[in-house]
């Protein structure tokens, strides 16, 4: 009987641990989905995409959210990362700026909407939190994303 109770307790502990892991493992993703007004239309990009497309290796950030719109001609993107430390933050900002410039080169004279959205965007930073929000329906989105909590 005691063994059964112990097994049950272990199972309950595991369940509680896994549940709490689910709710706290992606705080920036949760934040981004909560703040962005078009979150239901956005696609979640993977960590591989952060590396391949933007060029930021996982050792430079502890958390991220990378969301994009379905239509590439519109240029909607939301990238938020929490850098590992101050040096990493510098690299993250630099890579995001390079990426933004590259996107502008590719969309100029091609995708007018995307180019305009990129032109109006900027990489913002507050301590270790770095944001690039492009083409959001809510102009306050970048600032809201930078606010902690």
């Amino acid at each position: 009987m005691a063994k059964r109770i112990l097994a049950l307790l272990i199972l309950m502990c595991l369940a509680v641990t896994s549940c709490s892991a689910d709710t706290t493992s992606d705080p920036l993703l949760e934040k981004a989905l909560r703040i962005s007004k078009d979150s239901t239309e956005l696609i979640k990009m993977s960590e591989d995409d952060i590396i391949d497309i933007i060029g930021i290796e996982p050792e430079y950030f502890t958390d991220y959210a990378y969301l994009t719109g379905k239509d590439t001609s519109v240029g909607r993107e939301l990238i938020i990362l929490r850098a590992t430390d101050e040096d990493a933050a510098k690299l993250v900002v630099s890579r995001l700026e390079s990426y933004r410039e590259q996107r502008m080169r590719c969309t100029r004279n091609y995708y007018a909407l995307a180019y305009r959205a990129l032109s109006e965007s900027e990489v913002l930073q507050d301590s270790l939190l770095i944001v690039l929000s492009v083409g959001s329906p809510d102009p306050k989105e970048p600032q809201l994303l930078l606010q902690e909590g």
Binding site: D49, G55, T72, R105
Partner: protein
């Protein structure tokens, strides 16, 4: 005698039909394993296709998860064929501008797919375009000698393309280009994947439902048709005995190198 001829004809017909009727239809996951350890280069159309794939991955993380799609919006076949990065339109990978060959060298794929030509546009300069195709095949063979190089046919355009881009009879020229692209690939030991027919309507143009700009770019439905055409190509390769599932898994996948 007549009866004997009929019986022989029946047997011949039966032996011809049965293998097709019972040809194994491979499961989607099996078909898509053809693209494991593949690297796919393309322009804005491939960017849109990648986004389509990313959309499917929201509910199926394993979908084409061993395939690298590296698009560069606005890039031309000519710019992509060069061995040095310069100018505005280049592939951007791991935070830097690289050529197709530089990226292939880092990834060491088993297959390299190329779908480029919309931005040249290739059908008004077929001979030049095919010389760039040959350049790509040869340079890619030098860079990743063990990889198969595969060119994906140019996607069709809608009837609006001519007026939009101020050209005449572009789709007819595009058909000629695709025909010669197939010949060029065969001559140079590369594969050719025809997806154009799957995107056309009865009028020989890109189906309007398949285009989001009603000119040349693909809509979600168009990307779904492109995906189906790729799967159909793999099934055809299987039916012809040119590919078997699991062939890619017989050797371990090569690790991505960091060498430039």
């Amino acid at each position: 005698m007549k009866h004997l001829v009929r019986v022989i004809a029946f047997f011949l017909l039966f032996s011809f039909i049965v293998p097709f009727a019972y040809a194994e239809k491979l499961d989607d996951k099996v078909l898509l394993s053809y693209f494991d350890d593949s690297l796919i280069f393309g322009d804005s159309r491939m960017e849109s296709f990648k986004r389509f794939v990313d959309g499917i991955r929201q509910t199926d993380e394993s979908f084409l998860d061993k395939t690298k799609i590296v698009p560069a919006g606005s890039i031309s076949l000519y710019a992509a064929s060069r061995t040095y990065p310069s100018g505005d339109f280049l592939f951007y990978y791991h935070g830097r501008q690289l050529t197709m060959y530089g990226i292939a060298d880092r990834i060491q794929p088993r297959k390299v797919f190329v779908m480029l030509g919309l931005n040249d546009p290739v059908a008004v300069k077929i001979d030049k375009a095919l010389s760039w195709v040959e350049d790509i095949i040869h340079k890619m063979n030098e860079t990743v000698p063990d990889a198969e190089v595969c060119f994906i046919s140019e996607t069709p355009v809608t009837e609006n393309f001519d007026s939009e881009k101020k050209v005449e009879g572009y789709q007819v020229s595009l058909d000629e280009y695709n025909k010669r692209l197939k010949e060029t690939c065969e001559k140079n030991g590369a594969r050719f994947v025809d997806i154009a027919h799957a995107l056309k309507g009865e009028d020989n143009f890109l189906k309007l439902d398949y285009s989001n700009d009603k000119v040349c770019h693909l809509s979600e439905e168009g990307n779904a048709a492109l995906l189906q055409a790729l799967k159909d190509y793999v099934q055809e390769q299987y039916d012809l005995g040119l590919w078997s599932p699991g062939a890619a898994e017989t050797e371990p996948a090569p690790a991505e190198t960091t060498a430039e």
